[in-house]
């Protein structure tokens, strides 16, 4: 926000502005670079494997012959884990946000909020570790004695824990943005807190909450380390959450860890899968931004 335009006479001022412009351009260059890298390398892959086979094939076998590059098993596994994660994080995250913004005393909030921030700051590799040392053994000991070392369920649960703080904090922001008047109006009508939350606040904050959920879904789809450690690297087309599966990100990691030659088809597949992953998360992020900008300032 600048109200005054000054004559830019001094060359030093102009040099500085140029430098700042370069810094700002780094972001654009990065975006263009990411898209270019993914597009070029994915095209090299599609010169050898037809895109139709890639996008509609239901068998993925990049390391065991006969090779097959149908991405559907990877996509389905990724989505299954993301949906399990959302099933856990959405209700708990929204409830936690409602509690923080509507029920908690200032003191309680000052304790809980930093805890959620700590949870959000823990590296995802640590969550992966938590999945193999606590969540999977716990599931085995209680409800699923047959569960193997790796499962989509454990991965989904841990990714749910991982995205919970994101949903909680964005939902809390959305609830806080609801004008006081709506709250007070509801209470003045004799509504209880629960009724106010359900009939007034949640509908009013719906767009913000929806944007948060979509963003969290994008996060879950792109999550790597927790999923690699918890879900394993077994590419198969299944919707059974107790099975070991391989997500798109897990495939990328598997190829990078081995000594796959850089000019092999497997290595090129890494870029094709990366491009698919990027396209999916990019679309979700755009939808989320779109929801926020479309419904913003509804009450001003």
């Amino acid at each position: 926000m600048t109200y005054i335009t000054l004559p830019r006479s001094r060359p030093a001022e102009r040099a500085i502005e140029f430098g700042l412009r370069v810094a700002a351009a780094v972001g654009i260059v990065t975006t263009v670079g990411i898209i270019a890298v993914l597009a070029v390398e994915a095209l090299l892959f599609f010169a050898e494997v037809s895109p139709v086979d890639f996008f509609t094939g239901t068998r993925w076998s990049a390391s065991i012959k006969p090779f097959a590059f149908g991405v559907i098993p990877l996509v389905v596994s990724t989505l299954m884990i993301a949906l399990i994660a959302l099933a856990i994080a959405v209700p708990i995250g929204i409830l936690a946000a409602v509690w923080m913004s509507e029920f908690a005393s200032m003191r309680a909030r000052n304790i809980v909020k930093p805890i959620l921030e700590i949870l959000a700051g823990i590296p995802t590799i640590v969550y992966g570790f938590f999945a193999i040392t606590v969540i999977t053994p716990l599931l085995k000991a209680t409800i699923l004695p047959e569960l193997g070392t790796f499962s989509a369920l454990s991965a989904g649960i841990v990714v749910g824990i991982l995205i919970l703080p994101l949903i909680a904090s964005l939902t809390e922001d959305a609830l806080r943005a609801v004008p006081r008047g709506l709250r007070e109006g509801s209470y003045a009508m004799g509504a209880t807190r629960w009724e106010t939350v359900r009939r007034v606040l949640l509908p009013a904050a719906l767009s913000g909450i929806a944007a948060a959920v979509i963003l969290a879904m994008s996060r879950a789809i792109g999550e790597t380390m927790a999923v690699v450690l918890a879900a394993g690297t077994n590419p198969q087309l299944t919707i059974d959450p107790t099975e070991s599966v391989q997500t798109m990100t897990a495939f990328i990691v598997q190829i990078s860890l081995g000594d796959t030659p850089a000019d092999s088809l497997q290595f090129k597949a890494l870029f094709a899968v990366g491009a698919t992953l990027f396209a999916m998360t990019f679309a979700l992020n755009m939808i989320s931004t779109w929801i926020v900008s479309k419904y913003r300032n509804e009450y001003d």
Binding site: R21, I92, L95, I115, G222, T224, M225, V253
Partner: protein
Amino acid sequence: MTNPSRAALHSGETTTLNRRKVKNALFSLLALAAIFVSMVTLAGLLIDLVGRGGSSLDVQFLTSSPSRIPAKAGILPALVGTLWVTVLVALITLPIGIGAAIYLEEYAGRGRIARLLKINISNLAGVPSIVYGIFGLAIFVRGLDLGRTAFAASLTLSLLILPVVIISSAEALKAVPPSQREAAYALGATRWQVIRRALLPAAAPGILTGIVLAVARAVGETAPLILIGAVTFVTFVPTNPFEDKYTVLPIQIFNWANRPQEAFLEISAAAILVLIALMLLLNGAAIYLRARLSRGLQW
């Protein structure tokens, strides 16, 4: 808070009112339970880590190289690698992040280019970290031929956290009251003088806090570094970030966690404790910086 009981009593619906009250109580209990779940998770995570890794955490662990024998293994090369990356990422993101934020807030105006820049940055913030790894592999490791070095890793991680740094720095600049800016202009300062002498000192606490927190995030990143070739078995201590082989704490943790033997899980937990301690240290530094720099700032 208004008391709903009166309205209901007047309409003579005591049973409905009771039901509503019960529903309300149930709901607040449910909401409290949700909070409880997050607390228990964090507690469970920490208890598990300390219980599993606490006993392996000693001076020998911090000063040894990795070994095939878990009892003799240590994290020194990984710790040094992580410190290299931390310092480099901070040095790279500081000028670029602040520069871009200043451009966005003070120069770009509100036209189409400014909007494009902002949308682009918020989109970049949502790109999965592993995609940055792919980019780093193609551009830094191969394209610029930096090889699999800590320097290439630092560049990749810097790009990864730049959006966060830019957004938080821009917020900090935005939070400076317009009066500060206007007063400086009124004294005849040029645009850069206003930024340098009035805006940056006032926004410094917010900017630096944001950068330190973003660097803490970079320190914990694992996935992009797997792509750009941090290796898992480094037995020497890297003396410079251009050395051909390096490793960092998260990679070391991943490598040990990925093995079936319990003994490796234990040292993995110990390494996680060190990583978390490092991140807490950075967070503490952020809090300290904010307190220290905002002293004497009064609007």
